[in-house]
Amino acid sequence: MSWRARTVWDRVRAGAPAEASARVPSRGLRRLLRAGEVVLFLAPFAAFWLLFRLGPVLYGVGISLYRWDPLGDVQFVGVSNYLRLAADRRFWNALRNTLAFAALTVPGILALGVGLALTLFTYRGRPATRWVEAAFFFPYLLNVSVVGLVWRWLLDPDFGAVLLALRSLGLRPPVFLNEPAWALPSIAFATAWWLAGYRMVIFRAALEDIPEEIFDAAKVDGATGWRLLRSVLLPLLKPAALFALVLTGISGFIVFGQVLIMTAGGPGRASEVLALYLYRFGFEYLEMGQAAAVGVVIFALILSLTLLSFRWLGYGSAG
């Protein structure tokens, strides 16, 4: 029987303490009590959520319509912050860099994650897989400053270990972080190193959710190797891939820490991304309205990515 049918009041009415049954509440009152209970359960979380999440979203849209002078002069300017963005070549550069960064990291991280997960899954049960999994996962626990500093050191143009290793192989590598064409891809590479193990764990869990019968059936049908992978495993990973795509895409759109620490947006503005643009306009140039407008743009990007992914990969099986 459901919760609906059994409240304190139902039991009271069903026949018990006399002093209570004298005042059986009306249906309306009971409904109100139930609603009150739900509200009580939701209220603590809802308070945080309204004040620090939904509230700021709306507030942010509001701010983006104002010119916010640090001296206290606040002026409604309508969409002119957005028009200023549209006219700013630096903004378009940041947008392009952000999209390029997402285009570099998302497929890389997902492919690495799926590949590693499949490898571990193939060798499941062996003690070595536990250590391999741990090694690939570990960087995810490092904070972004550590990741940024370590990779900046590894890619240092004069003494970086990566350059020295490549040179010792007889190659002539570019000076990664100091070369406009290489700065963003280098940051993307460090990001993949940081996050691929996390994706690996998620995909591995998804693989382990696949019922054993499916493998048996595939074996009966003679599907092995690539055929098993292409026709059975990858389609079953689709829901996992959908969310991985959305979440990795979002983390690409909001990339900030690695960029700030590894290149600070340079050389020139070759790696300036939207979040860095937002930070500089908001907290260095004190153009709060324009910065808030960039926040709205990032949100629009995330929303479109989500809707597109749902369209490509379907809703149904998700979750």
Binding site: F41, R53, G55, F136, A161, F283
Partner: protein, 272 residues
């Protein structure tokens, strides 16, 4: 090569790749204890022959490094405790109580997961400024507590607990709070652990919002402090790697102790 040989080769290859994957971390530790001339030696010194503690002690004495660790601990603990305490009843209402509009309200909560802190920093800055919470612990953790990930995770878990248990408890006269505390929670250990680990790691590592909310070096959390180190020593990699290594030690220790729980926690919190 026969099939078994091929399989063995595969796992060996994976193990080698895994070691290469950790090389950046090992390089960081090595740099932290190398004498400065070795750091910039050509050809590079991969394994230091002498171990020096100058960089490490420099970070600890010239910077409020331990205070940063403490700050991170306070923020992460507060986030973890608060978000668990508020998420549990909300997840209960979304999974064990029937009410009109429940799924619609949940969908609205859920879709707000798509809004990262980064998008919200300007309005949050204004808000926290008005509440006079900038440069304080609550200023950092309050926005993180509002993240719906906990409600989502716990709801999924609660939904899989048989409804008969609630019904039996109600027959015995238990109210909803009682059911939550004595029926649902005792069964939810793994989900609560997963949530706690996720929130702790997330808030321990949070960067963008903390950087904006915190301005005085003594209030910095670890990631923000490390970034400040970089500002001061642009090329002193010994000091930078010492700081990064010290910041990594807790992660290594916790991971060695809790590896299985952490990985399981991650899979429970993630959408799959």
């Amino acid at each position: 090569m026969n099939v078994r040989g091929l399989a063995r080769a595969g796992i060996v290859l994976a193990a080698l790749a895994a070691m290469l994957w950790l090389a950046p971390v090992l390089w960081m530790f090595a740099t932290a204890v190398k004498p400065t001339p070795h750091i910039f030696a050509l050809p590079p010194v991969w394994v230091p022959s002498v171990v020096v503690w100058d960089h490490l002690s420099g970070v600890l004495t010239k910077w409020p490094f331990l205070r940063w660790v403490w700050n991170s601990g306070v923020v992460a603990t507060a986030t973890t405790v608060l978000s668990t305490v508020v998420s549990v009843p909300a997840a209960f209402a979304f999974s064990r109580l029937q009410w009109r509009g429940r799924d619609a309200v949940f969908l609205i909560f859920l879709s707000s997961m798509l809004i990262p802190l980064e998008v919200n920093v300007i309005p949050l800055y204004f808000l926290m400024n008005r509440l006079q919470l900038l440069n304080t612990y609550p200023g950092v953790f309050l926005p993180i507590v509002g993240m719906p990930v906990g409600v989502f995770l716990l709801r999924q878990f609660f939904l899989n607990i048989p409804q008969e248990l609630d019904d039996a408890a109600r027959v015995d006269g238990a109210g909803s709070w009682r059911i939550l505390l004595s029926v649902i929670l005792p069964l939810s250990g793994p989900a609560l652990a997963a949530l706690a680990i996720y929130m702790f790691v997330f808030s321990w590592n949070e960067f963008f919002w903390s950087m904006i909310a915190l301005s005085s070096p003594r209030m910095f959390t670890l990631p923000i402090g490390l970034r400040a180190l970089q500002g001061a020593y642009d090329i002193d990699y010994g000091v930078l790697m010492a700081g990064a290594s010290l910041a990594t030690v807790p992660a290594v220790l916790v991971f060695l102790l809790l590896q299985r729980h952490i990985i399981r926690g991650v899979t429970l919190t993630a959408f799959r």
